[in-house]
Amino acid sequence: MRAAWLIALNDLRQNVRSKSIFIIGFVAPLTLAFILNLVFGDLDEPDGGLTFDVGLAIVDDGPTGQGFASVVEELSAGGLVEVTRFDDADAARAAVDDGEVSASWILPAGLSDAVQAGAAAEITVVGDVDAQTTASVARAVADGYASSVASGRLAGLVAFDAGVAGLEDIGAIAQEISQAPPLATLAPIEAETDELDSATEMMAGMAVFFMLFTAGMPVLSTLGERQQGTLSRLLAAPIPAAAVSAGKTIAGMIVSVISLVALMLASTLIMDTEWGPPLGALLLAVCAVVAATGVMSIAGATARTAEQAGAAQSVVAVSIGFLGGTFVPLPSSDEGLLSVLERLTPNQWFLQGLEAITDGGAADAIPAAIALLVMGAVTGAVGLLLARSVLRR
């Protein structure tokens, strides 16, 4: 075991000196985390992170205009829209043209009178062609309000037909109904399941994906030593050949654990990811490294050069990334080939373990940790058998 540690420390020292390990283990994943944070960083904010900038010009001074104003105020308070008030329709249109706002609502003069008289009434929505989403949202809000006004007017007509209201009351009834609170509202649903938030899930997938590359180090390092001639020197030393494999595996696992944990900590700081109880997360990280090391030892074992092994490991890492849902979410199903393959990836068990500890405690990591260790033991045993041929080839 002493020889294995000597070889491991020697590998670590060289990796630190060559700086290659910093790039694959830290710089690349952290850079990607930073970019992902810029792109998707607000996904899990309470307001959904989406705010539409809309102008509002209420020239109508009647109850219909006031009713729309109160609806917009509610939307603004909920964070969906950021409203800029304008005094007239021209100013609201000009603001859209100038790009000051992406869309504007214009409630013309006499709108309330028209509603009360049962005449044609119109809310104008002006949208920027380059901001279709905001224009659509503005239109939907206006349509919704117009529908409620129309419903109110219909209710007034029904009341008039029934003889419970006079013709002059129809407008007032319509106004009252349009401003009444809805019978039912859709409130945001707080997640009650044990799913990770999207930022954590994304980072967990990415962290394991990059960790697969550092987990491939033992095979690459062995083949690299063979190419530079030092492997024969190690094998000629009075140590068991297994010490060489063990030393390289120890070095690779140390780098992988440090890389994975560093990425978890960094993403916690810059992306507010939540990994659950630290002890459980650390246990899962170590077990994921064991599994990944085993899988990647098989991936490169048939290669004759470090370059061939690197290429083979890249293919396996990307395949595992896809199957583990790192890049695109997979359809949820408990049956079928895809589901079986999914369960054969370290990514999937790592995510599953994180979900369990996020909802529960550190002890809930144990089932996933065991699965990862079994995966590491099986693939590692095959990898060790193949490594013997790498050493003596």
Partner: protein, 319 residues
Amino acid sequence: MRASTRYDGPVLEVRGIAKRFGPIRAVRGIDLHVEHGETYGLLGPNGAGKSTSISIIAGLLDPDAGTVEVAGEPMTTRSTSARAAIGLVPQEIAVYPELTARENLRFFGRLYELAAKKLDRRIDEVLDVIGLRERADDRSSEFSGGMKRRLNIGIGLLHRPQLLVLDEPTVGVDPQSRNSILDSVEQLSREGMAVLYTTHYMEEAERLCDRIGIIDQGELKAEGTARQLTASIGEREVLRIDVVGSVDGVAKQLGATEGVASVTAREGGFDVLADDASALVAHAVTLITAAGATISSVEIARPDLEAVFLHVTGKALRD
């Protein structure tokens, strides 16, 4: 310190080793032994089986047949005690480029379980032997090819092996570094270390080796001191002719000439082993001229290892 106790018998005893790689029989039943303080040269062209033999002797490969004993201990890919008695200097420059000379020596010294204080002292001694004391703390990636070669040898010496195995240690080095390496090997031999030295440079074998084994096509074709080997071909001489142009069929005609032991066609000429080379010159010139080629030089050499190799294998050493 992980080293075997001194064994009074031969430091290296190789009996009938053979190794096959698929259809290729790389080594075909080689026997040799090396005594304490003896430098044994394994002389042969590229692909003769030298490196495969070295790999078996150093415990990197298991032979298909035969046995190897180092300092009385059987050598296999699993034996560790026999390996402690060997210092291997591979043909490749087997050093870590990111480490300094001292760090390279310290790492391998620890693998041989040299105690820390002894190791530091021994590292300084070895740095002196290989002439790298001044550059001990520079990374080996900054070294010249010759300096890397010397460090390569230094690592093999570190644990004071009973047998130092040098596999083509001077390939690709400048004349000054080569001379330095040969001086070091001579010094080690004088100090009583047994050396197994493979090379395809005849001059190195003649200068360094107490005994020489000529290896070709995986077989040990001849063995003895340089004097014994040259004597084995009698008073024959070597006629070396360099030509320009086509000489098809000339080698066969020369070979059929009386007094010619063997003819080897090489790139740009012939090497002819003959009883009386001087008497053969006129006939050779006639044949070559008739074939339409031009002679650029003619040389008659006294018997040397090159001639021995030609005689034993039927081809030139550098083929």
